[in-house]
């Protein structure tokens, strides 16, 4: 071999190496499905719509979805209560893989970092086939228009019979999901029963009330008196004034508890509401002054946890509740009330938490704002980079089939539940686990957790967990009467022009509002000067923001 030839060979091998490295990279980008990608179009056309031999029909979707094992990738935060490392450890996903012949490569982000991790993922330019996120409702349009997400409406029409059926039967849902230019960008978590739409609610130590001979607070003034009694009359009986009457992880929750009573049905994180067809911004409403004044009164008399700005994790709340110093808070049915009850079982003689109805304000206003729409903000979107759009949509559609709904809510029959009289009933070892886990945690070994996934949440699930947690009255039914659908801002979708105006303005406004309101609650600035806050908000462009919201809202109603 002469020198020239040798050089040529060297060059060639170097080129080969480079191209191999490059193709390996691009293969990774679409989630390692590179190998099967070339063969998939032919297999998919064979699989749909005429079912292949041996196939099974699930609500119009024929299983298995792929003839040869297909790998799809999915990004998702892992969830704080799940003790494993990969969702494929859950029995429901193992069964799903068996039924659909689709293997999911889960790419997990840690729970706490999920918001950062999500924006980093979306800006990396290389996406997995599917992306789970908790706030698609607000962000899907933006990422859709950037070209990161695949519009799904046509694919749903052709390949998702189960999901299409839900949309056809519930026009509201289609409206909540569709963007201004007619696209659907994600498959959402759905709750079809109105009583299940309730999310968090006020909870109070019933045994403390009983001990002090107090009634459940019915008005804001009652709340003040009850909290005052908690502070002064030593309900935990240890002789020390260590009770923290009202505990909070986020100010958001406390605002949701009291603001509706003063006529402003908002929370800090959902500050917009609708009144007489007009979209309004809670903190810019003159009535919000009363909310701030009330909270300032609670804070100054040490009825509101003085550490509420520092202790912002669920762990600190759990500690305060389980060390018997917390009197009331605003939380979920299962993960707060249920968990606390389970944790204190056998450790405390009288420990009992009760849900409280929303308080009535001085002008007779009363409402419950912590509820969601049927279409959840959370769900799975499909990346525009996927090589298998049809299979992805079919796999997603499976989640909405009767079979998929059962799997996602209850797990695998015989393992986590049995069918009793035609109804799925959790096994005792799931409801009352003996392995040291709470039932929420144990359930996560079997499913994604009560249908908080791109599926339909089953009422029978929440019912059974609630009863297992020792809650006799159904809080979800209690609050149904207080939900004001007219006042709650629906999940409006912005056009990108509207979004370009709203996002930067709201970034400064929200910083200003959280800061000022906290200062007023802590009494550093007098709540009497609230007029100046409203004037400042107008200077910062709140009217312009509201105009965009109004047009999005009007368009939503026109849908």
């Amino acid at each position: 071999m002469n020198v020239a030839k040798k050089r040529f060979a060297l060059l060639l091998s170097a080129l080969l190496l480079i191209s191999a490295v490059l193709s390996a990279c691009s293969g990774n980008n679409n989630g390692g499905s590179g190998g099967s990608a070339s063969s998939s179009p032919s297999s998919s056309s064979a699989a749909s719509p005429s079912a292949p031999s041996g196939g099974r029909d699930v609500g119009g979707l024929s299983l298995p979805i792929a003839e040869e094992k297909l790998n799809l990738s999915l990004w998702s935060p892992i969830g704080g209560n799940f003790r494993g490392t990969n969702f494929n450890e859950k029995a429901s996903f193992q069964k799903m893989e068996e039924n659909t012949n689709v293997h999911i490569d889960f790419q997990h982000a840690a729970e706490g970092a999920s918001a950062d991790a999500f924006t980093l993922l979306m800006s990396s330019g290389s996406l997995p086939d599917m992306i789970y996120y908790e706030r698609w409702s607000a962000d899907a349009v933006k990422y859709g228009e950037q070209g990161a997400l695949l519009p799904l409406e046509d694919l749903i029409e052709q390949h998702a019979p189960n999901f299409k059926k839900i949309l056809d039967e519930n026009p509201d849902i289609r409206g909540q999901l569709t963007t201004p230019d007619g696209h659907i960008y994600y498959m959402p978590n759905l709750i079809l029963e109105s009583k299940d739409l309730v999310q968090m609610f006020p909870q109070i130590r019933q045994d403390w009330l009983d001990k002090l001979n107090l009634q459940q607070p019915a008005t804001t003034e009652d709340w003040y008196n009850v909290l005052k009694a908690f502070r002064e009359q030593d309900p935990n009986g240890n002789g020390k004034k260590d009770e923290i009457p009202l505990v909070s992880v986020f100010l958001d929750n406390i605002v949701m508890l009291f603001a509706p009573a003063f006529g402003v049905p908002v929370g800090m994180n959902s500050p917009f509401f609708v009144e007489d067809g007009q979209v309004k911004y809670g903190p810019a409403d003159p009535r919000f002054k009363d909310v701030v004044t009330f909270l300032n009164r609670l804070y100054s008399e040490q009825l509101l946890d003085p550490e509420y700005l520092v202790d912002t994790t669920f762990d600190t709340l759990t500690e305060k509740v389980t060390t018997d110093v917390a009197g009331a808070w605003f939380g979920w049915s299962g993960s707060y009330m249920g968990n606390f009850t389970t944790l204190m079982a056998g450790k405390h003689d009288t420990f009992k938490i009760s849900p409280v109805l929303p308080p009535e304000g001085p002008n007779g206003d009363r409402g419950h704002v912590s509820f969601r729409w049927q279409v959840g903000d959370q769900g799975l979107a499909v990346s525009s980079q996927t090589k298998n759009p049809e299979e992805v949509v079919k796999w997603l559609d499976y989640q909405y089939s009767e079979e998929g709904i059962l799997l996602n809510n209850f797990g695998v029959e015989g393992q986590s539940y049995d069918i009793v009289d035609g109804q799925p009933v959790f096994k005792q070892e799931v409801l009352y686990p003996t392995n040291g886990l709470t039932n929420t945690q144990e359930l996560l070994n079997h499913t994604i957790g009560g249908g908080t996934w791109s599926t339909v949440a089953d009422t029978r699930y929440s019912e059974q967990i609630r009863v297992a947690n020792g809650q006799t009255e159904n809080p979800l039914e209690l609050y149904a009467d207080y939900l004001e659908y007219d006042k709650k801002l629906p999940p409006v979708k912005f056009t990108s022009e509207e979004n370009d105006i709203v996002t930067p303005l709201m970034a400064d406004i929200q910083t200003y509002v959280t800061e000022t309101i906290n200062q007023m609650i802590m009494g550093r600035t007098s709540p009497d000067t609230y007029d100046q806050v409203i004037a400042q908000l107008e200077k910062m462009g709140i009217k312009e923001v509201l105009a965009q919201y109004q047009s999005a809202y009007d368009r939503f109603n026109g849908n």
Binding site: A115, D116, T119, L120, M122, S123, S124, G125, Q146, G147, A148, L251, P306, E307, L309, V310, T312, S384, T503, P504, A507, D508, T511, Y512, T514, E515, N518, Q519, M522, M540
Partner: protein, 322 residues
């Protein structure tokens, strides 16, 4: 001595460029192994420091990751203008500057004083014990440090218990919630974190001072204070100045991670700095172009400060980075 035209003409003729190039190449070839050793460092800077700079163009664009760096539309200085007009611009600038400035004027001299004090210690054992203790916080992860700060400063934490116990205050102070305490807390904990570690470099400089100078001074009757003033301080002055210049160059880049771990809406007023603002806007809200513009602005100021500080130091003390 002035050069006349004659002397100029009599000088040997300037070598042509090609000859000069050949000579350079010869010199490089002769020292090729030295250059080879330099290569990894140069590659490092090229790949990790210079190549990413190209991404700065997104500060002048409306960046969309799916259109790419070049596909995104140009917007000129729009993001800069938005930042300068922002409601928070002056506050961010003030907070950033003040937090760095306090850190500089407190932590920087404290490290020198600490090194001098250690140097004066006669007991070797005592010295090493003190050094070890003072280094320790440097090795603790920032997350843990901040967890400790939060625990210590709570209303039932060790600091409040101590102050109340000693009768210095009647009610616990909400250190982490009151904006007027934030800088004190930040700089104070920074002092604890870094004084021991920062003093190492001065101790090294101190050990480089010729002991003969001290002996001569003692013979001349200088006491320890005079020795400190006339030998020790001038001895470490070059090190001090170099470090001071470097520190000034970082005046507007506060450690954002510690602030993010410690601040909350109650303390934004004094705690919110440019880099935390960039974090909230850029990472949390995916407004990359805007935060790149803010970051670039920050870097330009830092760079300017560095150049100015260096120039002043060169003029006045002949010590400089370049």
């Amino acid at each position: 001595m002035a050069m006349t035209a004659k002397t100029l003409a009599s000088r040997p003729k300037e070598p042509t460029t090609s000859k000069k190039l050949a000579r350079t190449w010869r010199r490089i070839a002769a020292n090729r192994y030295l250059y080879l050793m330099l290569l990894p460092t140069m590659l490092y800077f090229l790949i990790f420091e210079y190549k990413p700079m190209y991404g700065l163009i997104i500060a002048f664009k409306d960046f969309n990751p799916y259109a790419g760096f070049w596909g995104s539309p140009w917007v000129g200085f729009e993001h800069f203008e938005k930042f300068f007009e922002s409601y928070y611009f002056w506050r961010l600038l003030r907070n950033t500057f003040l937090i760095s400035f306090y850190s500089l004027i407190i932590i920087f001299p404290a490290s020198i004083v600490f090194a001098l004090l250690l140097n004066e210690l006669r007991s070797r054992k005592m010295k090493s014990v003190l050094q070890t203790i003072s280094y320790l916080p440097h090795f603790i992860s920032l997350i843990v440090i901040c967890g400790m700060i939060i625990d210590f400063t709570k209303s039932d934490g060790i600091i409040n218990s101590l102050l109340v116990g000693l009768g210095l205050i009647s009610e616990p102070i909400q250190f982490l919630i009151l904006p007027e305490w934030f800088r004190t807390l930040y700089v104070g904990s920074g002092l604890w974190q870094s004084v021991g570690w920062n003093s190492i470099i001065y101790l090294a400089a101190l050990s480089g001072i010729n002991p003969n100078l001290y002996e001569a001074a003692v013979v001349d009757g200088a006491n320890r204070w005079k020795q400190l003033i006339h030998i020790t301080l001038p001895g470490i002055l070059p090190t001090v100045l170099i470090l001071l210049i470097l520190n000034i160059g970082n005046l507007l880049s506060v450690g954002w991670d510690k602030i993010i771990l410690l601040y909350n809406p109650g303390t934004y007023e004094t705690a919110d700095v440019i880099s935390t603002f960039v974090y909230r806007r850029g990472v949390m809200e995916a407004d990359y172009s805007f935060s790149a513009a803010v970051g670039l602005f920050n870097s330009i100021i830092n760079f300017t400060l560095l150049v100015v500080a260096n120039a002043i130091s060169r003029r006045t003390t002949k010590n400089s980075l370049w």
